[in-house]
Subunit: 377 residues, 2 copies
Amino acid sequence: MMLPAIARTAPAAFGDPVEAIDTPALLVELDAFERNLARMAAFAKEKNVRLRPHGKTHKCVAIARAQVEAGAIGLCCQKVSEAEAFVRGGVDDVLVSNEIVTPSKLRRLVALTAKARIGICVDDPQAVDALAVAAVEAAQPIDVYIELDVGGRRCGIERVEDGLRLMDRIAGSAQLRLAGIQAYQGSAQHKRRPTERQAAIDLAVRRTVMLREALTKHGAGKLIVTGAGTGTFYLEAASGVFDEIQPGSYIFMDRDYGMNEWAAELPPFENSLFLLATVMSRRASHAVVDAGHKSHGIDSGMPAVAGRPDLSYDQPSDEHGQIFPASPEAVLPALGERLRLIPGHCDPTVNLHDWLVGIRDGKVEALWPVEARGAFS
Amino acid sequence: MMLPAIARTAPAAFGDPVEAIDTPALLVELDAFERNLARMAAFAKEKNVRLRPHGKTHKCVAIARAQVEAGAIGLCCQKVSEAEAFVRGGVDDVLVSNEIVTPSKLRRLVALTAKARIGICVDDPQAVDALAVAAVEAAQPIDVYIELDVGGRRCGIERVEDGLRLMDRIAGSAQLRLAGIQAYQGSAQHKRRPTERQAAIDLAVRRTVMLREALTKHGAGKLIVTGAGTGTFYLEAASGVFDEIQPGSYIFMDRDYGMNEWAAELPPFENSLFLLATVMSRRASHAVVDAGHKSHGIDSGMPAVAGRPDLSYDQPSDEHGQIFPASPEAVLPALGERLRLIPGHCDPTVNLHDWLVGIRDGKVEALWPVEARGAFS
């Protein structure tokens, strides 16, 4: 059953001045966004690693295409339904950097191989068997990556011998092709100090090398080592072990990434994503804006008020956010005044919006549907 | 610009067994849901208060209609776009229990008065003036409620004299009709002990009476006093001051409301909303399910695992949730096993889903689109 056509109109029209955009709305400052896009592409080229940006961040075909045009080899994503949106949008190389075990989902995933190169991660023999059934049914080959737990303690195998067992299991199916190792250290991304991130990735690299050597000795062909996020991509790239990096947030950035300490030699990624909000109630002690946590993710903390370090956003409820003075000199915004919030976490924020409103020089230049918004299956 | 038609298929088909529903999916146990619906309707009838359920909880026309059929006078909601969805769906009495100040939004709101009785809240003379402009332009009357801060310290006027000033301002426009007082005590809803909630509502009632008496002495006609939520509705109803109650969560309940202490004489609202999730990775220490915080709201804490007090859900990421043993005897679920999660907070959870899957006796009986999902403008 398909969702009935619902009038989900964009919060703006092409050419509108920013002042005319309905709120709350998610803005992308295109100049900053394009600089971020180019900087990561240039970095990957210079370091000679493949760039496979994470589509979970933006869930948007227009952005996926821009990333591929800028030099990305393809996209990665977390869900079959995201992969479906990207392949439908013309992306011809997608890695689902996650485990999928349900037969109906695996059939959908394998069906995509008719139109695109598709990869998937495994960490369990039972999942390999289920995938093999789907691939054989469809008579379509699929790339399989063994996910290694490199310190995140979430998914992935823990021991080298488990990897060898998976390799044998993969080799047992004519349609499964062992393509590489997924080695993403998620918990390292937001460690604030560069030395902490370095230590976490050093360990991840050592674990990855152990597995890769064992698989190679066991007879594996060329293995792609893939992983890394916006917090650590430069470390994986420098390791000499990673062939491919998977950063997502670099295109937008957010308040949480802004709290990391960054070394001066890294590409200076800029905040390009802002939630535009309007003050809809005002009193002496605080202002209330029309953007609560149904319009931005608070899982990684509160948003910042862009350009207004004298204001803080706090006490969010579903549809309201409160703005308080953060310094004795602060002047609270007036009723009807608009503020730009820098989301605490970009990925879940984008997932709450149907549209991204691209702006340049104060005008609406792009209206991008978030095709994979809510695509969590 | 309208969102391009996207294949957003439902996670199930009519008649499917629950085992065939794609995950993550939001289930509504229809028996429990219908008992909740009937219990609140019976309570309101018995106490002789009008029931105006909050549509922000479900954002779903099918449920709004069921509430009206069960005796509700109409719905309330927080956003103009929600009101648009409900009026389009046939609800003919909608109160936006919130402040709206943007002229373009006010024009959209006033346009709805052609099809339905519409109310709106105000807490500022400037907002009254903007509303008057829109109502006069459209030559349509609209109900106006003065919002009083009864202890939530978010929106609403603080002083009786501000209410008198708003009343005069409202009286200055031919199309604005002072309909009543919005007196919602949001921060009281989740106070855990009944005595704490009682104390908060006692104060709210006293403040409301003061304002109502002053407005009446100033010449107001009959004023509807409206407010209350699922945590306190029985207190407002017992006050003799509230004419109308606005509970939302009672139809679904959630883990957060489950942590309130409830008096035995209250209607026993049941959990009817469950997030179905699948284990997609498993190791000795924990299992990983395919439901992260992109599929359920964690603003009010983690979900519970229904029927499995020996398991706890923790360390959610965007697309993953981890299941840990909560007792020494716990047996972790197997790879591919499905769990039902009781969301921490029902409202933002529903807002992440395009479909509610109604089930009865283990089969899919209803597929309800969440028409106002993402309607935050």
